[in-house]
């Protein structure tokens, strides 16, 4: 274990891959390992790429990566695809579109399956970002599953979030709705050589104009047209990403955003640990099944039973 961490910090790709597996499979040693690498994290810039299935997220990721590589930045990519809710298996196909990046020794691509996690990411995504960060990647790009409207976890994870759109997937009302359309720091209108792309770009711009009339905004998300397969507009997209990064750094929002993420992470770790500790007590408590029977026959109610269990476990009085 500590060997793997030493090797990771010395730049072993093999160690990084193994550590990711341990964290992903929620190995018993995962928390200890993450604790040990935490002091080495916080340097990578995290870019999120999200959007509907088939809009071109993987291809854009590949092109942005190769632009970053030409500036000698190192890149880690986490490409998330869905697990089957029926079999638990997954077909992870994002690598196919990342042929240019996958031959580069300074690019590390890891495909992850959601394993039942909702929200557009795999459960261990933030932990895998930390491993790539500790390894020394300058950028970590997280590509979400193809999202519908409500999977917005990427915004709680990335420093900058790009929402990728493509023409032909809906009219202006779609662009006015809540959810994914609200989390963009930038929009990429990809497949911009197809008909409908200009209309889509102007509909998104209209939404942004409405936003500025409805609420106070400190950053106006740019709308960038791209044709990722032909490498058109990808340099403008990366420029816009860098402008957003610069804005976050200058305005202090990078730090405040990361503070909020840290706070949320602490809360969720606490919840997990508390529920783990409470639940591990229950099988030993022989009265639990009897209690279920009492609730089933309506002699007791579940709400006050839960209060009582928790009160007893923590020896607290309220």
């Amino acid at each position: 274990m500590s060997n793997l961490i030493t090797e990771l910090l010395q730049g072993s790709v093999r160690a990084m891959a193994r550590l990711i597996t341990l964290v992903e499979s929620e190995d018993g040693r995962a928390l200890e390992l993450l604790g040990a690498i935490y002091p080495h994290t916080g340097k990578a810039y995290v870019l999120g790429i999200t959007g509907s299935p088939g809009t071109g997220k993987s291809t854009l990721t590949d092109k942005i990566t190769s632009l970053l590589r030409s500036e000698e930045q190192t890149v880690g990519i986490i490409a998330v695809d869905p697990s089957s809710p029926f079999t638990g298996g997954a077909l992870l196909g994002d690598r196919i579109r990342m042929q240019r990046a996958s031959g580069d020794p300074d690019v590390f691509i890891r495909s992850m399956a959601t394993r039942g996690n909702l929200g557009g990411l795999a459960r261990a995504t933030t932990d895998v970002i930390k491993i790539m960060d500790a390894f020394g990647k300058d950028w970590v790009i997280v590509e979400t599953v193809g999202v519908g409207q409500d999977e917005v976890d990427i915004a709680k994870t990335a420093d900058t979030t790009v929402v990728v759109l493509a023409p032909g997937l809906g009219d202006i009302i779609q662009s006015m709705k809540a959810g994914v359309m609200e989390i963009a720091d930038l929009y990429a209108v990809n497949k911009a050589d197809r008909s409908g792309a200009d209309t889509l770009a102007s509909e998104v711009s209209l939404r942004l104009q409405q936003d500025s009339q409805i609420k106070k905004i400190s950053w106006q998300p740019p709308v960038v047209k791209t044709v990722a397969v032909d490498d058109m507009g990808t340099d403008s997209l990366l420029d816009a990403i860098k402008r957003h990064r610069n804005f976050l750094e200058k305005s202090g929002k990078l730090v405040s955003g990361r503070r909020e993420k840290t706070r949320q992470e602490m809360l969720s770790l606490l919840k997990e640990e508390i529920s783990r500790r409470v639940l591990e007590k229950i099988p030993g408590d022989g009265g639990f099944e009897a209690l279920i029977d009492d609730i089933l026959s309506h002699k007791k109610d579940p709400y006050s039973c839960v209060q009582e269990i928790v009160r007893n476990l923590f020896s607290i009085s309220d």
């Binding site: 093999r14 193994r18 597996t21 638990g88 298996g89 077909l91 992870l92 996958s102 495909s111 394993r115």
Partner: protein, 132 residues
């Protein structure tokens, strides 16, 4: 579903084959069997396949070839895996492989060759039984 180790498979087509119906079908078969399958697409060099296996921490590499290049590409993948310290990765192959080549491929470290007509459940069974 969380909190467990799942079998991770790299499904790859080395060489210049133009079609990959078989490889895609098997990728689906493995996913249906509960595995996590990374499909890397057509026209992969052994180096690309081994890079993918390394980064993805794969348990299995499945190679498919239809064009007669298996005697070079399959052993080369095994060799590169060993060079990178990935000697516990199970390598299996399939496609159009003449009977007389199979012994040599197995000696080179390919654990099994599945030709046309093999039952998919036999392939899944072999992997589940022999994976690290």
């Amino acid at each position: 579903m969380a909190g467990e180790k799942r079998i991770k498979v790299i499904m790859a087509k080395p060489g210049l084959d133009g079609h990959d119906r078989g490889a895609k079908l098997l990728a689906r078969v493995f996913a249906e069997a509960g595995m996590e399958v990374v499909y890397t697409g057509l026209r992969q060099t052994p180096e690309m396949i081994v890079d993918a296996a390394l980064q993805e921490d794969a348990d299995v590499v499945g190679l498919s070839s239809l064009s007669g290049v298996h005697n070079y590409f399959f052993p080369r993948v095994v060799e590169l895996l060993k060079e990178r310290g990935l000697d516990d990765v199970l390598v299996v192959g399939g496609g159009i492989i003449p009977e007389e080549d199979i012994t040599g491929l197995k000696e080179a470290g390919v654990a099994a060759i599945f030709g046309p007509g093999t039952k998919t459940k036999d392939i899944v069974g072999f992997i589940e039984k022999n994976v690290r």
